[in-house]
Structures are given as structure tokens and as C-alpha cells.
Amino acid sequence: MIKVSNLSKKFGSHISLDNVSCEFKKNESIALMGANGAGKTTLIRSILGYYHPTNGEVSINGLDPIKHRTEVLENISFVPQLPPPIKLNIDELLQYISISAKVDTDKIIHYANEMKLDIKSNMNKSFFKLSGGMKQKLLIAISLAKKSDIIIYDEPTANLDPKARDDFYRLLQQNEQDKVLLFVTHRLEEVKDLVNRQIYMDLGKIVSDDRF
């Protein structure tokens, strides 16, 4: 599904990704680990088509994520590390998602309820005014409702309490079939029951890649 070939990305003189090659296939759940500045986020952003590679290429189901951005992103769900301060209210945000990505709003509400988040009573509230945990729960609900083949989570549980984390992992287990699940995490023990592959990055390179 995802093929990264000899990918390098430089920002000025700083090398963020150094000739990285890897492949992620259907039914793989990967924990992407490494110290700060190892290149994890750069790799994810390259997969999402945000960065123009200095060298090498990324292909998602055979398509370049920059040249075929809309086709590629139809099949990707993404939850960032920190929820952005979006000023739209929840109703407008859901409208944006349902129209642009053809996601059923009822499904988002369903997954939000599963995450113990009542969004129906908060529809007119600005997204950025929700608590950190509520924002994260909503983004997770959206990612699950989107029914993508590739789900990318960048430290998704940072703002969640233990109960919400359990809900999140339960929902993921129910939805991980036939997908690529990519977790950026510093806490392997939290996702070890979900993942079957662990990649460790350092200084822009993949230093270990273990399957189990």
C-alpha cells in the first residue's frame, strides 16, 4: 500500500530523512518510534504529500501523494499529535469533512459516542474551545468514521485519560482489518497488543525494523 523508496528530505543544511526505504502492506500495524528529531513526523508528512522530497519518492497504492493528492487522501485518515486550534464550530467542521471526504456525519457521531464524547450538545461550540481530551476524541472518531485503508496516528493518546485510551484501543481492534495502521509513539507498551511491526528511527534513518 505504502512504498517509500530512497527518500531524503533536507531543511536547509539539516537532513531530516536520509535515504529511507520501507514498505507498509495491508494488515500491518506499525509502531514508528524514535527520539525527538529522528524523522518520524517528516516521514508521515511525506506520506501525506505535505513535503516535496529532496530525493527519492513515496507511492501510495501506486500514486504519488503530491501529484494525486485527492485520490491518495481519500484513503488516508490522520490524527495529529496536538489537535489544531480550528476556529470552525463542530457543526461546520463536520460539514467540511462530510462534503470533502464523503464521511457520514452519523458515523462520526456514533464513534464519538463510543469514545464517550457527546458532540450533539456541543455542535455550535468552536472546536478550539473544547478540552484537549474532547478534541482528541473527536479527531479519533473522525478518523474511524472515514473508513480509510491507511490510518496514521501521531501520538494519538497524548491527551486521553486511561478510560478513553481503552475505548480507543478497543475501537481500533474492531477496525484494523485490511488496513495499514501507522502509530507514531514513544510508549510501545500501550500499543504492543495492536502492532505487529516496530520501526525505530534515529537521525533520519531506519535503524531497526522488526516484525512480530
Binding site: 508528512r45 505535505y50 487522501l73 488516508i76 489544531p84 476556529k87 461546520e92 467540511y96 462534503i99 470533502s100
Partner: protein
């Protein structure tokens, strides 16, 4: 197209709730109210009176404040979203960059243009209610000129927004451009004229390349078709083009300039890393 309108609609809704929009609308609406309270329509200066006098004053103040309002409220549109990671999340959905960028421009254009034009409509309606003669030719000219000025500065603002890394830098550049176009070009041109190193036509040509300057000249051209208040410069302008052609130029040129910068901004947005 559906996504383009969606982005425009959501940007418009977001802007309408923003505090800057409230201040922006109050400034232009308040200005008109202040003119009526101060009895501008009853005064007569240089032969202008009634609603014509009011609209002339309105436009003279608008020349100064509209560009800086548009620049500072718009220049952070994309750079601000990039700064605080909104772009990273919003662009993870299947929206093309073209739809996102031009949708934002359409939404923002409606936001900045409507209060300015609405204030003028209020003036005309209130003036008519008070029994004043409505100067329709001036009203339609100003509608076109404000459209053109808004387009020019919106395009410039989106151009800046597309390449700057932080919103602070974007604000700094916006402020510099405003000061440069408002004052520095005039000061520089006066000193050039004093030195007489360049031909007068060139100096006037450079001056009229400034969208604020062309707006200023066109704004008085309906009151003063001979442009006598401008002195000898008027001869050069009116010798080169007719008055009606000059009015068309003063609307067409800023619109094209705005579209050019907006398009340049889009190309940068498309070619650069998004976050």
C-alpha cells in the same frame, strides 16, 4: 467546485464571527454615521455638497485604511494556518490545493468587500430618506473602485501569505508594503522630480503603477473631470488617455494586479512544502 464553495463558505462564516471583522465593520459603518452626525452632507467645500461631499470624504479615508485592514487581516490567512498546524489537519482531507487556496480567497474577498460597500449603501439610503440627491455615477464608480482596490490588496496579501514562514513576518511585510505604497513612493518620486534625472512621464508612470495612487486619482476624476486639483500632472494623464478610459484603467488595472499576485501566491503555495 463543491469543495471550492465549501471552503469559501466556511472561511466566510469563520471571518464573520471574528473580532477583527466586528472592528472592521464598525470602522466603516461608524465613519458614515459620524459623517451624518457631523453634518457633512450639509457642508460645502470646494463646490461639493450633500451626498457627493460625504462620499468623497468616505473614499479619501478609505484609500488610507482599507489597504492596511485588508493586508493585516488577510496576510495571516494561510501563514497563520500553517503556523498553528491547522493546515496540516485540514489538508489531510481530499481537498485539492487549488480549491483550498481559491476558496479562501473568495471567502475573504466577500468578507472584506461587503462592509465597505454596505456602509456606502447605508449612506445612500439614509441620504435618500433625508431628501438628498443621490449621485449615482459617483456611487457606481466608487463601487467599482473599491472592488478593484480590495482585489489588488487581497491578491498581494495572499501572495505574502503563501511564502512567509511565520505570521509575524507576514504582518511586518504587509505593514511595509502599505507604508511604501501610501507614502514612500510619493516622497521618492518628489525627490526624483527635484533632481530631474528622470523624465516626468516615467515618474508619473511609476506613480500610477501604484494601485493606491490610481485609486486616488480616479476617485476625484468624477468630481473634477479636468483633474485641476492635481495641477500639471493632470495634463499628462488626460493627454495620454481620455477621462472615461482612465476610469476603466483605474478599475481594470488593480483587478489584474490582484489576480496576478494571487496567482503567483498559488504557484508558490503549490510548489512549496505545505507545513
Amino acid at each position: 467546485m463543491k469543495n471550492l464553495y465549501l471552503i469559501a463558505y466556511l472561511d466566510l462564516k469563520e471571518s464573520l464571527r471574528a473580532k477583527w471583522f466586528l472592528v472592521y465593520s464598525l470602522v466603516f459603518g461608524g465613519m458614515i454615521a459620524l459623517f451624518f452626525i457631523a453634518g457633512v452632507t450639509e457642508s460645502q467645500v470646494m463646490g461639493f455638497s450633500g451626498l457627493s461631499r460625504l462620499l468623497l470624504m468616505y473614499i479619501q479615508i478609505t484609500i488610507v485604511i482599507l489597504p492596511i485592514f485588508i493586508l493585516i487581516t488577510t496576510v495571516r490567512s494561510i501563514s497563520g494556518d500553517r503556523d498553528n498546524h491547522i493546515l496540516e489537519y485540514m489538508l489531510s482531507f481530499p481537498i485539492s490545493l487549488k480549491q483550498y487556496y481559491w476558496g479562501k480567497i473568495i471567502g475573504r474577498f466577500i468578507t472584506v468587500y461587503l462592509p465597505v460597500i454596505f456602509a456606502m449603501i447605508i449612506a445612500v439610503v439614509y441620504g435618500a430618506f433625508k431628501g438628498a440627491d443621490i449621485p449615482w455615477s459617483i456611487f457606481f464608480l466608487y463601487t467599482g473602485l473599491l472592488f478593484a482596490l480590495s482585489s489588488a490588496f487581497l491578491g498581494i496579501a495572499f501572495f505574502i501569505s503563501s511564502f512567509v514562514k511565520s505570521s509575524e513576518v507576514a504582518l511586518g511585510i504587509a505593514f511595509f508594503i502599505w507604508i511604501f505604497l501610501l507614502a514612500f513612493i510619493d516622497i521618492a518620486l518628489i525627490s526624483l522630480m527635484m533632481q530631474q534625472r528622470f523624465s516626468t512621464e516615467l515618474i508619473i508612470g511609476i506613480s500610477l503603477a501604484n494601485p493606491m495612487e490610481i485609486f486616488r486619482v480616479a476617485a476625484i476624476s468624477l468630481f473634477d473631470p479636468e483633474l485641476t486639483v492635481m495641477g500639471p500632472v493632470a495634463f499628462y494623464i488626460l493627454d495620454s488617455v481620455s477621462q472615461s478610459m482612465f476610469v476603466l484603467l483605474s478599475i481594470g488595472y488593480p483587478v489584474i494586479l490582484g489576480l496576478f499576485f494571487a496567482f503567483l501566491g498559488y504557484k508558490i503555495f503549490e510548489k512549496k512544502d505545505l507545513v
